[in-house]
C-alpha cells in the first residue's frame, strides 16, 4: 500500500542523513573532525536522539543558491537524553555549505531553543561553522540576532552549554559567549570576532588562527572558554559530567547522587596543609579535595585567572559550587580576571539553586596602575554584587589570611552569607600586621630610639590581638571557629540546616550590576 509514497519518504530520509554528501563527510574526517550526527551520537544515550526539521531547506535564489539546496540546511537539531536527562541540542553541520548559518538554519535553532525553554530542559550547542552565509546577507545576520535573543530568553531559565569543535567567527561567537559554559576542543576550535587575514590587512599584525582565537588562548588568556578539551571524546565527557552536577532548569535543585562517602569523615591532615609561615604558599586544591565527596572536584575555568578556583563538588551527595582563593598563584590576591571569573560562577550557582561554599585565604587586591586603570573597582564590585544578590545557601570558611576589601568580597557575613566558619589559622584584619603598624604607628616608629625593635613589638602585638579569628568571633561575624579536621562535617551540617532557605527581595525588573 502506498509503496511509491513510502519509497519516496525513505529516499528523502536517507538523503537527509547524508548531510552534505559522502565526499564532504570524508573531507571532514580527514581534518580529524567528526560529523554533526556522529557528535550527537557520542553525546546522547544510545538510540535516544529524535531529529526535527530534518527536511528543512533554504528558499534562497540569489547567487545560484537554488542549485545548492541540502536537507537540514547546515544544522542538525533535535532532542534526546544524556544519562537519562532530557536535553535539546543543535549541531552545526560543516559538511553542508561549510556549516554557514542561513535564515532557515537560524529558524531551526531558535525553534529548538524555544522548545527547551518551554519545557525546562538544558540546551547544548555544537559549533562548527564558517559563520554567516554571505549569499543570504542580512537574512543571515538577522538569523544570528534571533539566536542571541533566544539565548537571553533562556539565560537563567535552563542551562546552556556550548561545545566549540571547529571555527566560529564574526558575530557568531556571541552566542557561545551568552551561554553558561563554553568548551573548546584544542587544535580544532577557534573563536574570534575578526579573523587573522583582516587583522593583517588593517593592523599589519601577523598571528595564526590558533594563537588568535584557539582553545588555549581562550582558556588561559581571555577566559572566554571554561574548558579546554583534548579531543572530541573529552569534550563530550565534560558535557556529561557538567550536566550531572546541575539541575534541568532553574526551578529544580541538582540531583542527589549516592557517593558512598561518609558525611562525618574527619581529616587530621588538613591542618598540616597550611604552612606555619603565612608568607609561604600552599595548594588550596588539596583542602578542596579533602572536603568533597570521594576527592572529586570538577574544576571550571582551570587555566584562567588561576589565583581563584571555581568548580563543582558534592557534599554528602549534593552539588555545591566552590569558590576559593589559590595562595599558590599571586599569593591568592584578587584582581580583575579573578573577580570576573568568580562573579559569573556565583551568579550561575544562584540561577540554578546550587549552594555556594567559599574558602578564603587572600591578602587583598592586586595593586598597581594596570589593575586600577583596568578598572579593578568596576570588576571587583561584580563579585560583591554577585554574593549579595545570591539567595542560595552561602557558607564561607576562612582558612588563612582575609584582609581588607578582599575579606569582604569573599563571602563575608554581611554580604548575606548564612554561615561563616574560620580555622584557628585565620587572620582577619583590615591589613596585614606589618602594613597596619606602618600606617598607624608611623610617627612613633620614626621617633623611637630603636625603630626596628619597636616596630617588631608593635607588629607582634597587632598580630596577637587582631590577626586571628577571635575578634570576629566575638562579634558573631564568624559563627564558629572550627577544628580544621572537622571542616567537611561542619559544612555538611550547615548545608542541611539551610535546606529550605527562602529569601525575599523587593521585586524589580533586574538590578544594575556594574558591567
Amino acid at each position: 500500500m502506498h509503496s511509491d509514497k513510502i519509497k519516496n519518504f525513505l529516499q528523502k530520509k536517507r538523503q537527509a542523513e547524508q548531510s552534505g554528501g559522502e565526499e564532504k563527510i570524508v573531507s571532514q574526517h580527514e581534518k580529524g573532525k567528526l560529523t554533526a550526527r556522529e557528535r550527537i551520537d557520542l553525546l546522547l544515550d544510545e538510540g535516544s536522539f529524535t531529529e526535527i526539521d530534518a527536511l528543512v531547506t533554504h528558499h534562497y535564489y540569489e547567487f545560484d543558491m537554488q542549485n545548492k539546496k541540502f536537507f537540514g540546511d547546515g544544522v542538525v537539531t533535535g532532542y534526546g537524553t544524556i544519562n537519562g536527562r532530557k536535553v535539546f541540542l543543535f549541531a552545526y553541520d560543516f559538511t553542508v555549505l561549510g556549516g554557514t548559518l542561513s535564515e532557515m538554519g537560524a529558524k531551526k535553532i531558535t525553534k529548538v531553543m524555544e522548545h527547551a525553554t518551554r519545557v525546562g530542559c538544558p540546551i547544548i550547542g555544537i559549533i562548527d561553522s564558517g559563520g554567516a552565509r554571505i549569499q543570504e546577507g542580512i537574512l543571515s545576520l538577522d538569523g544570528f540576532a534571533s539566536i542571541f535573543y533566544h539565548n537571553q530568553l533562556a539565560s537563567g531559565v535552563v542551562p546552556q552549554i556550548t561545545c566549540s569543535i571547529g571555527p566560529s567567527a564574526g558575530g557568531a561567537v556571541y552566542s557561545p559567549a551568552m551561554t553558561d559554559f563554553v568548551i573548546m576542543v584544542d587544535k580544532l576550535a577557534t573563536m574570534f570576532v575578526t579573523g587573522p587575514e583582516v587583522v593583517k590587512t588593517v593592523l599589519g599584525e601577523e598571528v595564526s588562527f590558533d594563537e588568535l582565537g584557539g582553545a588555549m588562548s581562550h582558556g588561559k588568556i581571555s577566559g572566554v572558554s571554561h574548558f579546554v578539551a583534548k579531543n572530541e571524546y573529552q569534550c563530550m565527557d565534560i558535557v556529561k559530567t557538567l550536566l550531572s552536577y546541575i539541575p534541568q532548569n532553574s526551578t529544580e535543585e541538582p540531583s542527589i547522587v549516592d557517593t558512598g562517602d561518609d558525611p562525618n569523615r574527619l581529616d587530621n591532615n588538613l591542618i598540616t596543609i597550611v604552612p606555619e609561615n603565612p608568607l609561604q604558599p600552599y595548594d588550596m586544591k588539596e583542602i578542596i579535595h579533602s572536603i568533597v565527596d570521594n576527592h572529586q572536584f570538577f574544576e571550571i575555568h582551570e587555566l584562567f585567572a588561576s589565583n581563584v578556583i571555581v568548580g563543582f563538588g558534592r557534599l554528602h551527595g549534593r552539588t555545591v559550587g566552590i569558590v576559593a582563593n589559590q595562595p599558590m598563584v599571586l599569593a591568592g590576591a584578587l584582581d580583575i580576571d579573578s573577580s570576573n571569573k568568580a562573579a559569573r560562577f556565583v551568579r550561575f550557582c544562584d540561577c540554578y539553586n546550587i549552594p555556594i561554599v567559599t574558602l578564603v585565604d587572600t591578602p587583598g587586591y592586586m595593586p598597581g596602575t594596570q589593575q586600577e586603570h583596568g578598572g579593578i573597582i568596576r570588576h571587583g564590585s561584580k563579585l560583591l554584587y554577585a554574593y549579595c544578590e545570591a539567595t542560595v545557601p552561602k557558607i564561607t570558611i576562612i582558612i588563612g589570611k582575609a584582609y581588607g576589601g578582599a575579606y569582604i568580597a569573599m563571602g563575608s557575613k554581611n554580604l548575606g552569607t548564612d554561615m561563616n566558619f574560620a580555622w584557628p589559622t585565620a587572620q582577619i584584619a583590615v591589613l596585614g600586621s606589618e602594613a597596619a603598624v606602618r600606617i598607624m604607628n608611623r610617627k612613633e616608629i620614626e621617633t623611637a630610639k630603636d625603630p626596628a625593635a619597636l616596630k617588631k613589638q608593635l607588629v607582634d602585638n597587632f598580630t596577637e590581638k587582631f590577626a586571628n579569628p577571635y575578634v570576629a568571633a566575638s562579634y558573631g561575624t564568624i559563627d564558629t571557629v572550627i577544628d580544621p579536621a572537622e571542616t567537611r562535617p561542619a559544612i555538611i551540617r550547615a548545608l542541611e540546616s539551610l535546606a529550605n532557605k527562602r529569601e525575599r527581595r523587593i521585586p524589580r525588573k533586574h538590578g544594575n550590576i556594574n558591567l
Binding site: 544515550d45 544510545e46 544519562n83 537519562g84 525546562g120 534541568q248 532548569n249 532553574s250 526551578t251 529544580e252 535543585e253 540531583s255 542527589i256 547522587v257 549516592d258 587530621n268 551527595g317 527581595r505 521585586p507 524589580r508
Partner: protein, 497 residues
C-alpha cells in the same frame, strides 16, 4: 609462667600470636596507632592500647610507649612479631630491665646476629662458610666502587642492619652503584634508624634456603627443617616452601647441623632462622641468622605439626623442648604465597586503599593468615603484606594444586594484588619441576607470561563484560535520586519575584 603477652606489632602477625595466646589461655594485649584503630588485631585482643600517630617511628617503633603500655596493662611478656622492634637489641635490653619477658633471643645475641660483619666473623670461627664480599662496612661510595671493581659486577649493596629484603640493591655498573648508594642509605635510615652499607658479590642462579632453628635455655638446640624461599622480587620473598626440592635427607642433616652450630656460636635462644645461599653446584654459604620468628614460619608449622609461637612461649617460660632432633620428621609439603597489595606492572609499587570486599579461600590443607575483612584499609604507612596463603599436601604437586585453586578463590577488592602473578608462576613448568632461583622472575620472563595470561583471561570474559557494559547506563540511573515535585514545580512556576 607467662600470663599476659603484649604483642608489639600489627597486622597478620599480631593476629597470629593472639590465636596461640587464646589456645594457651594466655591474655593478649594489642597496641595500635591512629591508623589501626579499626584493625582486626585490636578487636581480637583481650585489651588494646593506643600508642601514637600512624608513622611507625612514633608508634610501633616507639619503645618507651610500648613498654609503658605493657606495664600499664600488667603484661608480663612481650612478643615482638617480625620487623619493627623484633631485632632491636636495645628494645630487648629495655624489656629485660623492666622485667618484661621478651619472647625471643637476648639483646646480646641479637647484636651479634644483627651486625652482619660481626656475625661473619663468628661464623668463620665456627667454620661455617660465608659469601665473599667487602671485609667491613663501606662508608664512602668511592670505596664501594673500588670493592665492586675488584670483586666484579654485578654486586649487591646491602645494609648491615637490613632485613626482610630492605636495604638491598642489585647493581650492574658504576652508574647504578652511585645511584643505589644514596637510595640504599636512605632506605636503611628510614627503616632502622641508621645506615651502614657493605658490598657483596652477586651470585646468579642461586637458591635461598633457610633452616628454622630453636634453642631452649637447657642447652637443647634443633633445626626444624629447611625452607626454600628462592622466588623473590627486589630481594624480598614471594613464595616459600618446605621441604626444598633439592635438599635430600643427607643434606638436611648436614646443613641443618651447620645451622645449629651457627646458633650455638652466637649463643642464640628461642626461635630463629639461619639463612643460606645454595649455588647451582650444591655449595651452601651461610648468610645470616634472623633473630626472630619469620613471616614464612607457617610453612614449617604445617610440615612439622608444631605451633612455633607456642614453642617460643614455652622456651621463654624456661621449659625444656619435649623433642630431640631425631624426633623431627618432615611430613608432606607446604607452600606459602605472600599476598601483597602491589601493582605488579608498576614495578610492584604499593597499592593502598579501602578493601570493599574479601573472599578468603578455605578447604583441606588450606590456611590463611590475614588481617583483612570487608571494610578494612590497607595503609600506606606500613608494609604491603595483606595475607599469607599456605597450602599443605602429601607431596609437592598436591600442595601446588591446592594453592592454585585457593589463589583462584582468593578475592580482594579495592587494591591491586600479587595474586595473578602467583597464578602464573605456579603454572610454569619450571616451578613444577622445582627449577627455582632468586632470579626466577627475570630468567623465565614471568611478567611477560603474566601479561599474556591476563590478555587471554580478558578475552574469555569479553562477552560477560559486554553484557555488563550494555547495562551500565541502567546502573547509573539507580545512583541518582532526583528531587521530588520536580515537574510540578516547573509547571506551577509563574514569576520568580
Amino acid at each position: 609462667m607467662i600470663e599476659k603477652i603484649l604483642i608489639a606489632n600489627r597486622g597478620e602477625i599480631a593476629i597470629r600470636v593472639i590465636k596461640t595466646c587464646n589456645a594457651l589461655g594466655i591474655k593478649s594485649v594489642a597496641v595500635y596507632s591512629d591508623e589501626d584503630v579499626n584493625s582486626k588485631h585490636v578487636k581480637m585482643a583481650s585489651e588494646s592500647y593506643h600508642i601514637g600517630p600512624p608513622a611507625p617511628s612514633q608508634s610501633y617503633l616507639n619503645m618507651e610507649k610500648i613498654v609503658e603500655a605493657a606495664l600499664n596493662s600488667g603484661a608480663d611478656a612481650i612478643h615482638p612479631g617480625y620487623g619493627f622492634l623484633s631485632e632491636n637489641a636495645d628494645f630487648a635490653d629495655l624489656c629485660e630491665k623492666k622485667k618484661l619477658n621478651f619472647i625471643g633471643p637476648s639483646g646480646k645475641s641479637m647484636r651479634l646476629c644483627g651486625d652482619k660483619m660481626l656475625c661473619k666473623d663468628a661464623m668463620a670461627k665456627a667454620k661455617v662458610p660465608t659469601v665473599p664480599g667487602s671485609p667491613g662496612i663501606v662508608e664512602e661510595v668511592e670505596k664501594a666502587l673500588d670493592i665492586a671493581h675488584n670483586i666484579g659486577y654485578p654486586v649487591l649493596l646491602k645494609s648491615v642492619f637490613g632485613g626482610g629484603g630492605r636495604g638491598i640493591r642489585l647493581v650492574h655498573d658504576e652508574k647504578e652503584l652511585k645511584q643505589a648508594f644514596e637510595l640504599a642509605s636512605g632506605e636503611s635510615k628510614a627503616a632502622f634508624g641508621k645506615s651502614a652499607l657493605f658490598v657483596e658479590k652477586f651470585l646468579p642462579k642461586i637458591r635461598h634456603i633457610e633452616f628454622q632453628l630453636a634453642r631452649d635455655k637447657h642447652g637443647n638446640a634443633v633445626h626444624i627443617f629447611e625452607r626454600e624461599c628462592s622466588i623473590q622480587r627486589r630481594h624480598q620473598k614471594l613464595i616459600e616452601m618446605s621441604p626444598s626440592p633439592v635438599v635430600d635427607q643427607k643434606t638436611r642433616d648436614e646443613i641443618g647441623q651447620l645451622a645449629v652450630n651457627a646458633a650455638i656460636a652466637v649463643d642464640y635462644h628461642n626461635a630463629g632462622t639461619a639463612e643460606f645461599l645454595r649455588l647451582d653446584d650444591g655449595t651452601f654459604y651461610f648468610i645470616e641468622i634472623n633473630a626472630r620468628l619469620q613471616v614464612e614460619h607457617p610453612v614449617t608449622e604445617l610440615v612439622s605439626g608444631l605451633d612455633l609461637v607456642k614453642l617460643q612461649i614455652d622456651i621463654a617460660n624456661g621449659k625444656e623442648m619435649p623433642f630431640k632432633q631425631k624426633d623431627l620428621k618432615v611430613n608432606g609439603c607446604a607452600i606459602e604465597c605472600r599476598i601483597n597489595a602491589e601493582d605488579t606492572f608498576l614495578d610492584f609499587a604499593p597499592s593502598t586503599g579501602r578493601i570493599y570486599d574479601v573472599n578468603i579461600p578455605s578447604g583441606p590443607g588450606v590456611r590463611v593468615d590475614t588481617y583483612l575483612y570487608p571494610g578494612c584499609s590497607v595503609s600506606p604507612y606500613y608494609d604491603s603484606l595483606m595475607a599469607k596463603l599456605i597450602t599443605w599436601g602429601q607431596n609437592f604437586e598436591e600442595a601446588r594444586q591446592r594453592m592454585q585453586i585457593s589463589l583462584a578463590d582468593f578475592y580482594i577488592e579495592g587494591v591491586e594484588t600479587s595474586i595473578p602473578l602467583y597464578r602464573t608462576i605456579l603454572d610454569t613448568k619450571e616451578f613444577i619441576s622445582g627449577d627455582l632461583s632468586t632470579d626466577f622472575l627475570e630468567r623465565f620472563k614471568i611478567l611477560d607470561i603474566l601479561r599474556d595470561n591476563l590478555k587471554k583471561e580478558a578475552s574469555q570474559k569479553s562477552d560477560v563484560a559486554l553484557a555488563a557494559t550494555l547495562i551500565h547506563s541502567e546502573f547509573l540511573k539507580t545512583r541518582v535520586r532526583a528531587h521530588k515535585e520536580q515537574s510540578l514545580r516547573w509547571k506551577a512556576q509563574l514569576d520568580r519575584n
